[in-house]
Symmetry: C2
Subunit: 235 residues, 2 copies
């Protein structure tokens, strides 16, 4: 196997627990407004708007637009559906930046610090630069470099999202390994020539999760968490 | 004064000692080839080609081209001038990536680790992403984010080089401070609305240096090195 120099990570779900973070912050707004809602269902509904919004960009119907803007647009729709009505600018900002304040999984920070000793760690997320940088400060995520959609100008799973990230590091795709909790992300990374590591996050979608509980291909590495991945990579 | 959230650093000269690093590596090649040359003069000559090469891009005569490519083109010219003749592909790669292996100033790593406790630290260099990432691993530079020319698509001192870096962080320019050892870099950063910090690097160009020995405007901060800057920023 040719040497891996860089690990490129999916972020939402793989590194951070978006459902918990969004639930926590929408519960604060709902309490303030005296609205009764299911915070986790709100988080799921907001997240469900994510792929359709990016698809407008991927299809070329819309020019490249950062995720903070897509989140803000989608928020208006979901807030209405959940009875929050029209949000003040302040509340809207608070919720849009809730995506900048997502908690890492318990092993994320420690595991990444171990992996950083041997590899370049890059975020390869659809999140925009400010989102990923602020989240890293909040959750203590020691990135060497923020890559991803805003840097390369393409949303995953478009092939250029993977290819351009490796090129930006001056590396062949085979010298980069995609780390993700989502089999479909790894399918595209492998198609682009990258190595692949599946890290299981069985409660990303809550305790009833049915998807991505197992590796669905012979990924180069399969790990229970980032510490397990560090063990398997000889750290 | 409005709060500063991010420090954006010039890199060549401000964070790393390019003249020492290039001298060290060209001396290795000259020895191997049995060529007698002044390594520091070689470094100066190579560096002298830097601005004219970027000016081709800034002027619009050439589409955006990363610095590794410009360094490689300029190397051929300087190698001939200094009697190294045609370089093998291996020697050429070694010298082009010498810019990825530049040593930090003695205070760089420690001072940045202190500054990182309070601020977002971004590189705002004309170096490309791979160059800055590899240099950070080599010299232990704890960036939160690699910005600069390849991310924003513009070479300093074009105004968009400064403006787009702040925008990528989701910040107004007044909430970002440019840290540089070069007065002319700070002039442009201030014109873009950024705060400014001058850090004196009196031997960047060797012991006979005559330029940038003093702050030439009333920059918000003037420091002797990064530890002094950390002191002055209350860390």
């Amino acid at each position: 196997m040719s040497a891996v120099t860089a690990l490129l990570f999916d972020v939402f779900g793989t590194v951070v627990n978006w459902r918990e973070g969004i639930s926590r912050d929408v519960a604060i707004i709902a309490d303030q407004k005296g609205v009764s809602l299911d915070p986790a269902a709100f988080a799921d509904s907001w997240r469900a708007e994510y792929q359709p919004a990016m698809e407008e960009v991927r299809s070329g119907r819309r020019s490249f637009t950062i995720l903070d803007v897509l989140h803000r647009e989608n928020l208006k729709k979901v807030a209405t559906d959940f009875g929050l009505g029209a949000l003040s600018a302040e509340d809207e900002d608070f919720l849009v930046t809730a995506w900048h304040r997502l908690p890492g999984w318990p092993d994320s920070s420690e595991g990444m610090l171990r992996l950083k000793q041997k590899f370049i760690l890059g975020s390869q997320s659809n999140g925009n630069i400010a989102l990923i940088v602020n989240m890293a400060k909040y959750a203590n995520l020691p990135w060497d470099v923020v890559l991803g959609a805003e840097v390369v100008g393409h949303y995953k799973p478009q092939p250029k999202a993977y290819l351009n990230a490796c090129t930006a590091l001056g590396l062949a795709t085979e010298n980069c390994m995609m780390v993700a909790a989502h089999n479909d992300d790894l399918v595209e990374a492998r198609a682009a020539g990258m190595k692949t590591a599946f890290v299981c996050r069985p409660t990303e979608h809550g305790v009833g999760q049915t998807k991505d509980l197992h590796a669905e291909q012979d990924w180069e590495f399969v790990a229970q968490d980032f510490n397990d991945l560090a063990d398997k990579l000889g750290l």
